[in-house]
Amino acid sequence: MYSDVVMDHFKNPRNVGEIPDADGVGEVGNPACGDIMAFYIKVNNNVLEDVKFKTFGCGAAIAVSSMVSEMAKGKTLDEAMQISNKSVIDALNGLPKKKHHCSNLGADALHRAIEDYRSKQQGKIAERPLDGPEVCSCPVCDVNDPEEAPYCSSVCERTTGK
């Protein structure tokens, strides 16, 4: 079901863990749908000096987190913001279709960590996307009103916004 690259990252995930004094933290997901990802970044001179993650999820979710962390490390913030769903899937040599939403999460969590860092730099509190629509049904997971689900709400906004 999974490519060798996916299985390799699943078996030996790179950069697992937390950074206690992280410069930015990004979390997405919702236990109801089986995904929660947290990314921690250390930034030096606009470059991602260190990236770590923690993930609750399936094999694909773990491999995606690991791959995203590897792709991001050493990149500038702007470059890291370019890491997309598709580039992660490509780097993993493909994912089964039903697992594509897991790969959404990885890039989202990283981007959120970068946004968190940037807003801290500007002295703002990171905007939580929780103030999306009040009742929302996740089109990916078919979950109604996902509880405390930053990622899921953003999916909602995206799909209803378009």
Partner: protein
């Protein structure tokens, strides 16, 4: 590496005797059962023998057994066929909230056509209260369908009692017994059922073969119209190979039922006791004794099922999980939700379904291999040992 298959609910190997019974129909004994010359007769005899064997397993008579392409077809047929046959009498079906998808979705399709449905709740062990059935019956009720046992959580329903209530009220009663026929004693008379679905694989018969028991006198419309096969109730050239295999498997199951149960129950109970003893924050799911003999279901907190399955698979251990990430729908199991289990916790479901081939050593292996896997995944999990803005699950 030795493979340990504890996913018998997905598929069990055929018994050698079953393969042997099927072999002639792969080659020389070819013939369409409906044709009238001697090539066909041999096959007809084989089908009738199989019918007797399957009927014998559930204390039915031969004419009450109709072959189908599996449990799913049997379930769809029971529901849709009864609605078609009884539309003039009423429009209301009673079912439970923990049925297999083949019941659940067939009922949803019927709802779209205007059928009214009552879905009964279950208790925390996943068991329906027969009194709730009684209360739900109306003069417009044309069918009650409650499964005999649910493979995902293992609990066995009080079918005989529900059947008694149904009969008192003159309402036809169907049970999905795919998980129980050939696994525990099933007697259609003792259970007071009018219709009963079964499939061959749970008793080591071929995939894609099943039957519907239709009690003599019950009026049902076909789902698959068109011919004389199966007394006009189910048309189509029969899957001879599959049916012959199912017959043989049924015959053997009838003889071995007691010894198989005696083998499985201690293994099951070891899993249910020893896994929670060796890993913290693991809970058994379902009823402890009113339960399928080979079924052990547990929830492991803070980790997701598929990731555990993958690591176990690498070690040669095949099991299943009710996790949403595995169901293609990405939905948490409706069965666990109905039992009041929180959606997050349900992600950590592990389902062991044991079979004839499993041993005490297999259980030792699982109990040895699982804890470090869980630990490794928990170490990666943002939910483990944390009090954060994520709501604690459970």
């Amino acid at each position: 590496m030795k493979t340990i298959n504890m996913d018998h609910v997905a598929a069990s190997s055929l018994l050698p005797e079953v393969v042997e019974a099927m072999m002639p129909f792969l080659s020389e004994k070819m013939g369409n059962p409906s044709s009238m010359h001697s090539l066909g007769e041999e096959v007809t005899e084989a089908l009738e023998e199989a019918r007797g064997q399957v009927a014998g397993l559930i204390n039915a008579s031969d004419q009450e057994m109709v072959f189908t392409s599996g449990g799913t077809e049997s379930n769809n047929w029971a529901l849709k066929g009864m609605v078609l046959a009884n539309r003039s009498r009423g429009n209301h079906i009673i079912t439970s909230s923990i049925e297999h998808f083949s019941i659940m979705h067939a009922i949803k399709a019927l709802e779209k056509q205007g059928v009214e449905v009552t879905r009964l709740p279950v208790d925390k062990y996943g068991i329906v209260d027969p009194d709730d059935v009684r209360k739900a019956i109306t003069p417009r009720t044309i069918l009650i369908s409650v499964m005999h046992a649910n493979n995902e959580v293992g609990s066995i329903q009080p079918i005989a009692e529900i059947g008694k209530i149904a009969r008192e009220h003159g309402v036809p009663f169907h049970t999905d017994a795919v998980a129980t026929v050939g696994v525990i004693p099933v007697d259609v008379k003792a259970l007071n059922v009018d219709l009963l679905s079964l499939a061959a694989n749970p008793f080591y018969g071929p995939l894609g073969t099943g039957a519907l028991y239709v009690r003599k006198g019950v009026r049902i419309e076909p789902l698959i119209d068109g011919g004389i096969q199966e007394q006009g109730l189910r048309a189509g050239t029969e899957n001879v190979l599959g049916i012959v295999g199912m017959g043989k498997a049924a015959e053997i199951a009838a003889g071995e039922l007691e010894s198989r149960m005696a083998h499985l129950i201690p293994l099951r109970d070891r899993l249910i006791n020893e896994i929670p003893a060796s890993i913290e924050e693991v809970e058994p799911v379902g009823h402890r004794t009113q339960r399928l003999p080979g079924n052990a279901s547990v929830l492991v907190r803070y980790v997701e099922g598929e990731s555990m399955l993958l690591f176990l698979d690498m070690e040669g251990i095949k099991i299943a999980s009710g996790s949403a990430c595995i169901s293609r729908s990405l939905k948490v199991s409706h069965v666990m939700l109905a039992m009041g289990i929180d959606a997050g916790n349900a992600q950590g479901s592990l389902l062991f379904t044991l079979g004839k081939d499993n041993t005490n050593e297999d259980v030792d292996e699982v109990v040895r291999i699982l804890p470090p896997i869980v630990q490794k995944l928990r170490d990666m999990s943002p939910l483990y040992k944390r009090t954060t803005k994520f709501k604690a699950i459970g």
